[in-house]
């Protein structure tokens, strides 16, 4: 290109992450003499992979006010040292930031961050995380929600409906599960007890 410029923006196809490229340039002077080609190779950075959320799982009700967010580690094609960002929002639109952190050093297999603010009881929160290789941030993991509920949280009966045509022998009772009733919860719910009262007498029933 006839020009005295000493710079040009690459205008070809978008360079691909993780690809090694070669650059060569030469210049010509007013005597129509070309320089020899100066060259270098460069590599397009690869994004770290998306971390996988481990805890809390989506919709988990936590019984501890000290909340720790945990993700499994990302990987990086260039083998760069990774750090992590965590963010916590108070709404699902994720425009109301509660707290965040960046630069969390990577753990052995997983990386965790203990949320640094006191979260409100029985209020849903949304969180996510992403990795950073020192050059670029990776994609955010899919968002997850959780609720903190450290108080006793009995199951709440949602409805009682009669089973028709059985002469009044059966009713269907449904209730909200206990806040502790989760597969990964530290508190294990082994059974629910349902009580009925007939003429002031209560009868214990096993199961649901």
């Amino acid at each position: 290109m006839s020009s005295s410029d000493s710079s040009v923006t690459y205008a070809g196809d978008s360079l691909l992450d993780g690809e090694t490229y070669y650059l060569r340039a030469r210049v010509k002077n007013t005597d129509d003499l070309w320089s020899s080609g100066a060259s270098l190779s460069f590599r397009m950075n690869s994004l770290p992979t998306i971390p996988v959320g481990l805890s809390p799982y989506n919709g988990q009700i936590l019984g501890d006010s000290i909340v720790t967010l945990i993700v499994s580690n990302s990987t990086d094609a260039e083998g760069d040292t990774l750090t992590y960002s965590f963010v916590v929002y108070s709404n699902s639109l994720m425009d109301s930031l509660v707290t965040s952190v960046t630069g969390m050093q990577e753990g052995t297999d997983s990386t965790s961050w203990q949320v640094d603010v006191l979260l409100e009881e029985e209020w849903p929160y949304w969180w996510r995380a992403r990795a950073y290789d020192g050059f670029e941030y990776g994609e955010w993991m899919s968002v997850r929600s959780f609720i903190v509920n450290t108080e006793y949280s009995p199951p709440i009966i949602k409805s009682i409906t009669d089973i028709p045509n059985d002469q009044g022998r059966q009713v269907r009772i449904s209730w909200y599960a206990s806040a502790y009733d989760a597969p990964q919860d530290t508190v294990t719910i082994t059974e629910y007890c349902l009580w009925r009262r007939i003429d002031s007498l209560g009868v214990g029933l096993d199961g649901n």
Partner: protein
């Protein structure tokens, strides 16, 4: 139709005659020595005319070649008119008309007329002209090879020769035996007289030939019949003179690139010495190069020669003269290319009086900071340095009776072949001339520093997908940048670039 042809011929010749009367007008095109001009006879009877300035006693070579090869009917005719208007010489041929071996009798503007011999054919011809002495189309000097384009024309070159010296001139077609160009070499003495000529199907050679005059000789190379095209390599070595590979000492081997050309070297031999010279193709029997070695005595006489399919050897041979011998290696048939290893041994293996030049023979060097130096093996007490460019023969003496074996040169010209030799002086009054050495200066080119991409980004982890490419331009002569070329690719095959 015949009548029209005659009419055009009359009109054309009247025009030429009017031009020849008196001093030619400068409106007529000038053909310079070493130049080839294309002329189209666009209608029957058309003539072209060109002028050149010649001096009484000059030699001249004028060649008109039809450009269509042998399949057209144009018969080139060239007619040379002296400044007085007198017809000086004429020639015609079915494909290539040539006036040569001809000395000019007058001084002034000569006119060359080109036409179809019978005036009834049309076509295009190339008119080539060389005056002797005068400019030539190529600049081949001793020890060099240069590519000549015989595209229905001639090429010309010149060298300085001294009476009694020898010369080896080889013209080799570069296409091997698959093309039809038949190289022809014609050598003209400084007086313009045709000295000797040679032609062959693939490689024409003039050698074993002593020059009778001193001055600038002219070489003309062409296709023998003028009806084929192609390229040829013109190689020449004067004896004494520079060689392509420099001098060789006993026990040494060199690699010669026989790429449709010759290579040459020199050694110092004394009468009675035995020599063994072996040239071996390096590709084994899988290539077709047939090594040939030709040994020339200091007087220029062909002393010995040998060739073989794979290894040529000169041995069981004693030298008859004392001085710098010249070795020429080449392909025997001139139609194959390859690398030759040639080795030299001398009995006894005495060192030459001088060796190891700096700059090394054939080096390409910067114009500044050149320091000539050499190894003196025989203990000369003083040195005269003869140095000059290819156009400065005989080489002028630039330093006399130096006692040190080095000599710094002032900055030289760009892109120029320089030649030098040392005259060694001994305390017994004897003087021995060293071999001719040569080097080439290069024209400093601009260069790029600080080529970068992506600015402050790490080039091992570039983030921007359309990054900025930057460089710094430098030029030793402080000339400005006028253009750039940038390529980005996924490998170092620059033919496949994304930009």
């Amino acid at each position: 139709m015949k009548r029209n042809i005659e009419l055009w011929r009359i009109v054309g010749l009247i025009g030429v005659i009017l031009t020849l009367a008196g001093t030619p007008t400068m409106a007529q095109p000038v053909i310079h020595s070493g130049e080839t001009i294309s002329y189209t006879i666009s209608f029957p009877g058309a003539v072209g005319s060109y002028i050149f300035y010649g001096e009484s006693g000059n030699g001249v070579v004028i060649v008109a070649t039809e450009t269509g090869g042998s399949n057209i009917f144009l018969e080139p005719e060239v007619r040379l008119y002296a400044p007085s208007g007198v017809l000086d010489a004429t020639a015609w041929d079915e494909t290539q008309a040539m006036i040569d071996d001809h000395n000019l009798a007058e001084t002034g503007w000569y006119t060359i007329v080109v036409k179809d011999y019978e005036g009834d054919d049309t076509g295009t011809l190339n008119l080539s002209s060389v005056t002797i002495p005068g400019e030539t189309s190529m600049g081949v000097v001793s020890g060099q090879s240069m590519l000549g384009n015989i595209d229905y024309k001639i090429e010309s070159s010149a060298f300085y020769g001294e009476a009694g010296g020898g010369v080896v001139i080889v013209a080799t077609e570069t296409g091997g035996s698959s093309i039809f160009l038949e190289p022809e070499v014609r050598l003209y003495a400084p007086s313009g007289v045709l000295d000797t000529t040679a032609w062959d199907n693939t490689q024409a050679m003039i050698d074993d030939h002593n020059l009778a005059e001193t001055g600038w000789y002219t070489i003309v190379v062409k296709d023998y019949e003028g009806d084929d095209t192609g390229t040829l390599n013109l190689s020449s070595v004067t004896i004494p003179g520079a060689t392509s590979m420099g001098d060789i000492v006993s026990g040494q081997s060199m690699l010669g690139n026989i790429d449709y050309k010759i290579e040459s070297s020199a050694f110092y031999g004394e009468s009675g010495n035995g020599v063994v010279i072996v040239a071996t193709e390096t590709g084994g029997s899988s290539i077709f190069l047939e090594p040939e070695v030709r040994l020339y005595a200091p007087s220029g006489v062909l002393d010995a020669t040998a060739w073989d399919y794979t290894q040529a050897m000169i041995d069981d041979h004693n030298l008859a003269e004392t001085g710098w011998y010249t070795i020429v290696v080449k392909d025997y048939g001139g139609n194959d290319a390859g690398i030759l290893d040639f080795s030299f041994a001398k009995m006894p293996p005495t060192l030459p009086p001088i060796m190891n030049p700096n700059p090394a023979n054939g080096d390409t060097v910067d114009i500044a900071g050149i320091v000539l130096n050499w190894d003196d093996n025989w203990g000369a007490i003083a040195y005269d340095i003869h140095f000059g460019s290819g156009g400065q023969f005989p080489l002028p003496m630039v330093a006399e009776s130096l006692t040190a074996n080095s000599y710094p040169l002032p900055p030289q010209e760009y892109d120029t072949y320089y030649f030098w030799y040392i005259m060694l002086k001994y305390d017994n009054g004897e003087e021995i001339q060293g071999p001719y050495w040569w080097f080439l200066t290069y024209h400093p080119h601009p260069f790029i520093t600080d080529l970068d991409i992506g600015g402050s980004e790490d080039i091992g982890h570039l983030v921007t997908h359309h990054p900025l490419i930057t460089w710094s331009y430098s030029d030793p002569e402080t000339l400005a940048q006028t253009a750039y070329q940038v390529q980005v690719g996924t490998d170092d095959d620059w033919a496949v670039a994304e930009m």
